[in-house]
Amino acid sequence: MVTFQFVPYTDIEVMSSAKRINKLLKIVKEEKIVLMEGRLKKHEEADLIEITMEEISPKFKGIELSVVYPDKKKQDLGQKMRGAFANVLLGDRQGMTIIGPASVVKRIEQNPDKIELFTKDSKSKPVGPKRRYRKRK
């Protein structure tokens, strides 16, 4: 089973960069896939990779990261202006950021139109004790 956790932009907009990254990494370390509204700043994406590297251990092997963002080339002038205006007023809420633990997400393939998320094969065994039935004589 794969668990997704939605992080609305309002949850992180007042946080410092360090707190944002720590919050996202905390969720990922719980083996959940983060679906964050909006995107991190460019330097925050680099910081996220840096902090991820600092925290790599035998249990935590890193992250898979992908950002979906509206293709500005396909927007007309009005849409671009509205988007820029909304960014100034409300922060960079456009698009969506997906962050998954490398132990769960094998890879994320991204092109402008679609995102494919490949998960690792589940190695977990069925829950519950094994029952053996003996034939009654």
Partner: protein, 212 residues
């Protein structure tokens, strides 16, 4: 400190009196196994007659920053460009020592390599601020839309660092320049084969344009 502040200020204004354009710090950046060290070796062989880095099919062969000072190249018009060539460890978002075990390494060796590789990624990111020009080396046989590539290029753009994209491994049939051009249409892209020295003349010409 004051000099650094002024340098940052002028770089934001796209005017930098401290910059010595004839001698730049040129970084090779990109994901692991894209061919950064192979390209660094090719450049050094072409202009200095010696290699600078070891290469391997196993990812994260380069785990620390390597610098070759005073690399002097000339173009067809006789212009010269001198740079310090900085070969950086590949930037990745995950490192699993078990991947190295699968490539035949012993457990102790694999764990040590993974630990060094994580430090290498951190160093690469920290060194971004030191660069004056960057060649992003991508494997032309792989999907260019990975977030690592986008993050590297986005961070260089945010720092106003000139970028040349080298699409490496064009000698392989699976190489697809069109996909890379479509992914990064705003950048100069040159296809090369660092291993076989293919299209290096074009690479050097583009380097002059980007680094000037």
């Amino acid at each position: 400190m004051v000099k650094k502040f002024l340098k940052n200020l002028f770089s934001k204004l796209k005017f930098n009196p401290f910059a010595r354009k004839s001698h730049v710090k040129l970084g090779l950046y990109g994901p692991p196994n894209g061919g950064k060290s192979t390209l660094a070796n090719r450049v050094c062989l072409d202009w200095l007659g010696e290699e600078m880095s070891s290469v391997s099919h196993i990812a994260h062969e380069t785990r620390e920053i390597k610098i070759k000072e005073q690399v002097n190249i000339k173009n067809k018009k006789g212009k010269e460009l001198t740079f310090s060539l900085v070969d950086t460890p590949g930037i990745a978002t995950k490192i699993d020592y078990e991947d190295f075990l699968k490539r035949g390494m012993k457990k102790k060796e694999a764990k040590a390599r993974a630990k060094e590789a994580t430090k290498g990624v951190i160093d690469s990111i920290k060194w971004l601020d030191e660069m004056e020009c960057v060649v992003v080396v991508l494997d032309a046989t792989k999907d260019p839309y990975s977030q690592v590539n986008i993050t590297i290029i986005g961070n260089l753009q945010a720092r106003n660092i000139p970028v040349l994209i080298a699409a490496n491994k064009i000698d392989l049939k699976r190489a697809n320049m069109d996909v890379i051009k479509a992914a990064f249409p705003q950048y100069e892209i040159v296809g090369v084969s660092a291993k076989y020295g293919k299209n290096l003349e074009e690479f050097y010409e583009q380097l002059f344009k980007v680094a000037k």
